[in-house]
Amino acid sequence: MQDLLFYIFSALTLLCGLLVVFNPFSRNPVTSAMFLVLTIISMSGLFVLLKAFFLAAVQILVYAGAVIVLFLFVIMLLDVKEEERRRFQKFGTFLGFASVAGLAGIIINSIGQSGIGNAPALNGNGVGETRELGHKLFTEYVIPFEIVSLLLLVAMVGCILLSKRDESKKEETQ
């Protein structure tokens, strides 16, 4: 049952991921954003299979709830019609597919040759305790946690500065 779910979720993740970047039917960024939501949701299914329940919830809350909404806001602010008029450059697309397929082939081949699936250190069954995760986060990793909260503050100030700049310039000229 778990094997079947793994195959379903990973196929969904990869299919929607492909449709985010290369959709033959629509060049609209809104379509890409919607497929990104589907990718994120099926990936949180994979997280549940890996017993990372807290991360699955955070993935849906932060990505599908906040990041995608931000993307959609910005897409609606900007002009999406121009993008649809531009075509895929056939040669560039072909070269992109070829180089990326080569990279994926090399890495997958090296994963296969390393025999990582049979390594004795890598056959655990997962520790899915959200309680342990929180305990570790606030004891062992408390300094990185504080630094990340500072980073969020800096990002917030940066966003306000970046979107305010134009108005202040207008006031100066007046």
Partner: protein
């Protein structure tokens, strides 16, 4: 039985899809979505290792990556909006003022 290598293969393919998005798309917003895909692929690999090693450190790292990615998206999209206000475009083919 699904082992760690299955998850790693999914993660690699997803990373390459994100890279493909960066290569073939010329719209800044869609390129950003490709970046998000690449970050998510790294998250998947970290969670898979954390599961198969019975070690929670990987999950904590993913927690931090999600936070940093959210901050990065906020700043990046603000930059795109500022750029659009100045240049009226968000296509990288039109943003060549730094070319020699």
């Amino acid at each position: 039985m699904i082992g760690v290598e299955h998850y790693l293969v999914v993660s690699v393919v997803l990373f390459c899809l994100g890279l493909l998005g960066l290569i073939i798309r010329r719209n800044l917003i869609v390129m950003y979505m490709g970046l998000e895909l690449m970050l998510n692929a790294a998250n998947l690999a970290l969670v898979a290792f954390s599961h198969y090693r019975n070690n929670l450190d990987g999950q904590i790292m993913v927690f931090f990556i999600i936070t940093v990615a959210a901050a990065e998206v906020a700043v990046g999209l603000a930059l795109i909006v500022a750029l659009y206000r100045k240049r009226q475009t968000n296509d990288v083919n039109d943003l060549t003022s730094m070319k020699l």
